[in-house]
């Protein structure tokens, strides 16, 4: 359901920040962020037939997302994200609407009608407002530079050209009696590749635009490259635990520049755009406060994806510099759910540390209790289960726990 909706949105010309993997080795164009200006005025409404049709379809998709059960319905969090977008885009603030959806992946997308979608997995991974500003700025850049409609038109024209080439050369081949399939294939391949190339250039431009918007709003411009560095480290960690190398995407058939290339380009751009002596903020405290009611729920979604390398990387990153009981409990959960040989002691060690910290949820006592029982420490295990029942008197599984305690 989620996948198909994403596919639909992609088909309708939504630009997303990390759809699939990017092209390795393709250097993004080094756009000068300061040279980019909005291509539409505040209150923009499309007048061209194709763009109006696209908006009509997206308006309906927006209704679906607005009413969807996966939308995170927290007015405070929506206001927080919306205000941050508004601060960056200024007069265009009324044209952009941001929806937070509960999907545990790192992504965000922008539709041509101003509907921005931010995944909970992106919020989970960010450490401060400056990183959030980089992603929201990138998506706003797609909107302000009218990327969706330009991309749609590019694809429409390229596929039309391909159709004419196929038919024209097939007929020419019939007329002169020679095979033309080789020329058809090579011409059409180059047209198809031009579409990928076009999208990669748009992504690079949106990166640059996002940097400009975030810097102007007073956010540390190096946050963007820092965030991408962390994404690279996460993918490496995920691949390492699976005993594989990180997916190396195709050089040509990618709609996005590679993570490394993006990181380097954004770091260079940040070096150039940063104004010496200007005090930039990262907004780490405000960000942590805004996300606090949801962070552990978003992390629980992530853990259920069964990608322990990614989950542990995120947990370790959130636990820097300080481990909390809530994070130690989740660390134990990752090991318990993976269940490889040697994971039980790792899970037990994490649970044991979790319950000594003040903010561990009651479920940490339960998990610790069962892990201790399994490890043969009956009395200590039962004490933890009793602590769980004491902390959660109305627990659904009270009967089951009582049964274990009476064994």
């Amino acid at each position: 359901m989620t996948l198909s909706r994403r596919a639909v949105l992609a088909g309708l010309g939504c630009s997303c920040i990390a759809c699939g993997a990017g092209a390795r080795g393709v250097q993004p164009i080094h756009t000068d962020p300061t040279a980019l200006a909005p291509l539409l005025a505040p209150g923009f409404r499309p007048s061209d037939g194709d763009e109006r049709g696209l908006w009509q379809q997206l308006d309906r998709a927006e209704g679906d997302i607005a009413d969807s059960p996966i939308r995170v319905r927290d007015p405070a969090l929506e206001r927080y994200v919306g205000n941050l977008v508004g601060d960056m885009v200024g007069d265009n603030r009324r044209d952009l609407r941001c929806y937070i959806v509960r999907i545990p992946l790192m992504n965000a997308s922008m539709a041509p009608n101003g509907m921005m979608t931010l995944y909970s997995g992106a919020l989970l991974r960010m450490r401060d407002e400056a990183e959030l500003a980089a992603v929201l700025g990138h998506e706003s850049g797609h909107y302000l530079r009218r990327h969706s409609i330009a991309s749609w038109r590019q694809r429409r024209d390229a596929t039309s050209m391909m159709a004419f080439i196929s038919v024209g050369l097939a007929i020419a081949g019939g007329a002169i009696g020679g095979g033309t399939s080789g020329s058809v294939a090579s011409l059409n391949n180059s047209l198809a590749l031009s579409t990928f190339r076009y999208q990669r250039d748009q992504e690079a431009e949106a990166d640059a635009y996002g940097l400009k918007l975030a810097e102007a709003a007073g956010y540390q411009p190096h946050a963007a490259s820092r965030f991408w560095r962390s994404m690279i480290a996460e993918r490496d960690a995920s691949a390492r635990l699976r005993g594989k190398r990180r997916e190396q995407p195709s050089l040509l058939f990618s709609s996005h520049p590679s993570d490394e290339a993006r990181m380097t380009a954004m770091q260079d751009a940040a070096d150039r755009i940063a104004r010496p002596g200007r005090g930039y903020r990262d907004g780490a405290t405000a960000y942590a406060d805004a996300l606090a009611p949801h962070r552990m729920a978003f992390l629980d979604d992530e853990i259920k994806r069964n990608d322990p390398g990614t989950s542990l990387h995120i947990i370790n990153s959130l636990a820097t510099p300080t481990w909390t009981g809530a994070l130690r409990y989740r660390e134990g959960e990752v090991y318990r759910l993976r269940g490889d040989p040697g994971d039980e002691p790792l899970a037990l060690a994490a649970y044991t540390q979790a319950v000594t910290l003040s903010d561990a949820p009651p479920e940490a006592n339960r998990a610790c209790g069962y892990a201790l029982l399994k490890a043969g420490s009956g009395a200590e295990g039962k004490a933890q289960l009793q602590a769980y029942l004491a902390r959660r008197p109305d627990a659904d599984d009270r009967g089951m726990i009582a049964f274990t305690l009476n064994q």
């Binding site: 037939g49 194709d50 109006r52 049709g53 696209l54 908006w55 009509q56 379809q57 209704g63 679906d64 009413d67 694809r155 429409r156 390229a158 596929t159 039309s160 050209m161 391909m162 159709a163 004419f164 196929s166 038919v167 024209g168 097939a170 007929i171 081949g173 019939g174 007329a175």
Partner: protein, 241 residues
Amino acid sequence: MLLTAGCGLLLMSCTTTKQFTDIGFKAPVGTFSVVVMQPDVEIGSLTAGGMFEVRDDWTRNAREQIIVALKQREAARGGSVTLFDPATADATHRDALLDLERLHRVAGAEVLKHKYLGHSLPTKKDRFDWTLGPDAAALAQATGADYALFLYTRDSFSSGGRQALQALGYAGCLVLVCIAIPGGEQTAFASLVELRTGNIVWFNLTDSNVGDVRTPAGAGKMVGHLLDTFPVGAKSITAGR
């Protein structure tokens, strides 16, 4: 790939309408009412490369023409039509009704896929048992109707570029390389839901170009095709409250 698709589509160009009825469904007798949901319409042009480009003006126009055609058809039979759009419902029912409309959008697409387009499901081979579930009763409460009629129309018209490509394909016949490029396509279905149970009790599809739905004549023809076998008698399509 373009050419293979073309041949496949050419074979389907004859008029096909085939209706499905829920097993055990009996056309109602006595007094009952049918609410007509806001028709789900998207009309656009087919680009030379085969992409569908929606046009909002054509879509709006076609939706209006379909509604007019429906009203005229029922007026001729002595009935009347009132449309219902969940978006205009009062706040307490709005979300549930919009969800129901979305659910039908998915269910209708599934019927289309599995009953008409060849992807038949082993468990639904010889029967027709699609349902929106008991939540459909919310629509009965909101409108006072016994049944809801959903109409879906997608239509595409060849763009100038597509027509040029078609002409080029035919011109190829001069050197004995005839290439038939398919033009725009129409797909429309009507679906009747029994609101007490939520079951789709009757479904009919037309996938032929019976007429240009942006015009009164074309819309009238399409609505006529779709509802020819509509199982309930005259004076039936009336909204509740």
